[in-house]
Symmetry: C2
DNA sequence: TCTCTAAATAGTAATATTCTTATTTGATAA
DNA sequence: TTATCAAATAAGAATATTACTATTTAGAGA
């Protein structure tokens, strides 16, 4: 999804195109993947000192909920990335070392939208994260148990 | 999964069976679904004043990561429930009114474990949440736009 | 363009969650 | 049973995230 389409998508769903939202999306794109709310806030504060941290959080949550942004929950806090830079995907998080790997898989939309419809829900977005152990941490674990 | 099996599962994965863990699991069962870390902490404080809130958070995260507990991320904070009380399931969350509905669907394990394996990951658990709008909030939204 | 209104924001306060470090404890093996 | 040690905990400090409220603003329509 291009930048324009992102803004269109926001508008289509009935949300306003505020300057803050434009800037947050722009910054998500500029900084690349896996940035925290604080990262975005600090980057934007340089030129727009009045930007509220609350606004960053509020919009990241909104963008996540309507599927335009991916959220990755690490122990150290949440990080985000635009959902449009590559094919829709999710993440593997190592519970020992916090390493993140991309997983080229997404729970298929039709598979659960039917269930959602039966509950009267209109689906907008989702969060899907897989937890496990990476190769190195599995080996460490085994070595410790010898 | 019965209570004993839960404890066995913890042990099998190499985690210690501390009294705090037993009590947290026991409380999750007693309080039923969708309790917050604070709920659990307060319930246990009555009889065990020294229990640390940090311990509750740490264990809820661990239990979630290894798939024994479900986490639901609401705007007001995260709530949890044992994964064993009924068939494995997930949740629909209304982004307007925060209503939660159960969705009898889970991204099938084999479908993504292959992807995970190719990255060298051993899968332990996952978080899957669907965001959307419930019937009432869709109607409100439409009424407002007339 | 001007007005109007619900939605969004800024600033700050309040909570929620995680981190740090010294101490305790479950599990293992002698 | 006892010693040992990595894992887990308690307590409190530090961050992360959300809530509250007065004010501003995007978008719709006159």
């Amino acid at each position: 999804m291009s930048k324009l389409n992102l803004l269109d998508a926001l508008k289509d769903k009935g949300f306003k195109l505020t300057v803050q939202r434009r800037r947050i999306i722009e910054t998500l794109r500029q900084l690349g993947g896996r940035v925290s709310a604080r990262d975005i806030h600090q980057a934007l504060r340089k030129k727009n000192p009045s930007l509220s941290l609350d606004t960053v959080y509020r919009n990241l949550r909104l963008l996540t909920e309507i599927g335009l942004v991916h959220q990755i929950s690490l122990q150290s806090g949440a990080v985000f990335e635009l959902a449009d830079d590559r094919r829709h995907h999710h993440h593997l998080v190592c519970i020992d070392c916090e390493k993140v790997a991309c997983i080229e898989y997404c729970p298929e939309f039709p598979a659960y939208s039917d269930h959602a419809a039966s509950e009267g829900f209109t689906v907008l977005g989702h969060i899907f994260e897989v937890y496990g152990r990476c190769t190195e941490c599995q080996n460490k674990k085994q070595a410790a148990n010898i």
